[in-house]
């Protein structure tokens, strides 16, 4: 099991993450967001590690409280967060609205691979790989 600490003083659960691309890697701060289906990375970050919108898998439309925004999906070489690493990990590249001072979101596309527990009183997230329940139908 991996334990990640987060700062209780902050308004959001912000966790460290690292992404690798064609021209190096970047260590980022991402918001843990169980309300987001995708893991989101800001365009300027993927650009800086050597990706381009032409590398996209698909164009996407994101519906948010602010309206419709356009982005694209991309497979990045490696993505690490909460103590685990994925290769060829698909992210949604999307410009979070100006004024949000984060590099992106860790969404369910990452989290659904794990059993996890957020302990808000102590500021810890415990994560372990999901195990299929042999008794489930």
């Amino acid at each position: 099991m991996q334990i990640t600490k987060f700062d209780l003083e902050r308004d959001l659960i912000i966790v460290p993450a690292r992404i690798w691309g064609r021209s190096g890697s970047r260590m980022l701060s991402l918001v843990l967001d169980t309300g987001s289906a995708s893991t989101v990375i800001a365009p300027q970050v993927v650009k800086d590690i050597g990706y381009d919108p032409r590398d996209r898998i698909a164009l996407t439309t994101v519906r948010s409280a602010l309206g419709k925004e356009h982005g694209y999906t991309l497979k990045i070489a490696r993505f690490a967060a909460l103590g685990f690493v994925f290769t060829d990990f698909e992210v949604n590249v999307f410009d979070l609205a100006t004024g949000y001072d984060i590099d992106g979101l860790v969404g369910l596309s990452f989290l659904r691979n794990f059993d996890y527990e957020v302990r808000s009183i102590v500021g810890k997230i415990s994560v372990r790989p999901a195990v299929t329940d042999p008794f489930s139908p």
Binding site: P16, G35, S36, D48, R63, L96, Y100, D103, G107
Partner: protein, 91 residues
């Protein structure tokens, strides 16, 4: 006529703690290299060197460009308090 902005002057700071970085570059985005991590699963580090800073998220990347070859790994962090609200996203 096309006007271009002058390229930011490359610089690298001395090793600084996160508190020193926040004090020197308040409410800015920074690019860090030579991050002396305490462990892998949180943000805590002893010191790091600043190679770029600015008000917009992309600013420090531009300034840090000359250091890419020497530093495979860079940190990209905001020194201020993250602002709310975050929009709820559905794909």
């Amino acid at each position: 006529m096309v006007q271009t902005q002058p390229a930011p002057t490359p610089f690298i700071s001395e090793p600084l703690t996160w508190a020193q970085i926040c004090k020197r570059y308040p409410d800015e985005w920074v690019c860090l290299v030579e991050i002396d991590n305490i462990n892998d699963n949180d943000f805590a580090f002893r010191t790091a060197r600043v190679v770029g800073h600015g008000k917009r998220p992309g600013d420090p990347f531009e300034q840090a460009r000359p250091f890419r070859d020497q530093h495979e790994c860079m940190g990209h962090y905001f020194t201020g308090r993250v602002r709310l609200p975050l929009p709820r996203l559905c794909f």
